[in-house]
Symmetry: C2
DNA sequence: GGTGTACGTTACCGACCGGTAACGCCGCTG
DNA sequence: CAGCGGCGTTACCGGTCGGTAACGTACACC
């Protein structure tokens, strides 16, 4: 989640004849910069001029690569979701066939991420706050993402064979999203997010007991 | 939480001589309108021109009542917190001396609020997404609010005499904030927020058992 | 050497942003 | 009646927004 590059490089590439596979295309620089700025300062908080400048380019070059700011934002959200699932899958893949450990791994990974300096919660979730027009195409993008997250948690809860997998999955989603939401205000792991993993464990136990009761 | 008035009234007040205690001061109209628009469309998504116009006034009159947009936003956030604690206290007051029922009443009231058409989650929490400058005075306002919420939940959990009141309180805060956050995307009570109350109950039971174990 | 393409630069557009100056009107109060 | 405060109106300021037109240039490839 979120990008790392911070731009400002002065086109250092012209030494030898054939750089391995590096095409420092302006489009890529602009897109990476945009991802970082959107995440850090919000979608409405960054203009295309600022993005292009921060990428060492200018507005005209921006519009040669992107049809509009809206198109860029769309691509940004799609990229964030892509990275999010990579992150999710890598956590889950550590414990194949063990849904309980997979869930725990997700909350462990979330806490790790929260401890990052650049962490500013969930990019897609934050976008849901900024995009107030529910008819907007971006709204649907975010909605679809959240529904996919919910479904995955339902599936994980279902693999635990509890009586109420939807209830447990939803509860886990509240813990996760609550973690992202509160992280915006409480730095590092100093906030309630530190309680997410033990709470998730307790909830799993509770819902398991409710099944065998 | 959130305002109810929708503006557009054409100054209907001049019939009888003495309206009970009504001073339809422009300032109040503007402020009410601002609260509603900020909550619905976001702080950055509404300009002072739009606010004044929607209140049936104009920008100049706005600046006669408010020093700046920032001052208005500050007042908006303070008002939202005020209304929030009124809401909180009225839920808690229904079960004096019964912390468990108080907590349940809070989640019941949250679900009721979520079922409202105008609900767009937590005003202060949403503001935390929009205000990205952590040095900003508004940031501190939101931070203080969230810390007060956290403390109150710690106290409620403490009244339950569990071994780990901070852990339980934080977990409850994750459920609440997760509810507000997901509500932005899932309309009414169709989202994970419906699982908040049963999850809170299960968590309370789990943390109570962990104390007597 | 010619050509195409990727990119930078400058200038501009209409719209809106937060904020201000100056003026005029209306109604309440002394 | 005079005066004054509350308020609406118009015009304006510098800045930024998303987006475009026209031009210049460096380089790669045939």
């Amino acid at each position: 989640m979120s990008s790392k590059q911070s731009g400002m490089s002065r086109d250092d590439e012209g030494s030898s004849g054939a750089p391995p596979a590096g095409k420092t295309r302006v489009r890529d620089r602009i897109f990476d910069t945009a991802c970082e700025l959107f995440y850090r300062r919000g979608i409405h908080g960054v203009g295309v001029d600022a993005i292009a400048a921060e990428a060492g380019s200018n507005k005209m070059s921006f519009y040669r690569s992107f049809a509009s700011k809206d198109a860029l934002v769309t691509e940004y959200l799609r990229e964030q979701e892509r990275e999010y699932w990579v992150w999710w899958d890598s956590a889950v893949a550590r414990h194949p066939g063990e849904p309980r450990r997979q869930i725990e791994a997700l909350f462990e990974a979330q806490l790790e991420f929260a401890n990052t300096k650049t962490c500013r919660g969930c990019a897609l979730g934050n976008a849901a706050v900024e995009i107030t027009d529910e008819e907007d195409a971006l709204s649907n993008l975010v909605r679809d993402y959240k529904e996919r997250v919910r479904r995955r948690l339902h599936e994980l809860a279902g693999a635990l064979e509890v009586r109420d997998p939807e209830g447990l999955g939803d509860a886990l989603m509240l813990l996760m999203d609550g973690g992202y939401f509160t992280r915006l205000v409480f730095p590092g792991a100093s906030g309630p997010i530190a309680a997410a993993l033990p709470a998730a464990r307790a909830l799993i136990d509770a819902y398991l007991q409710a099944s065998s009761r």
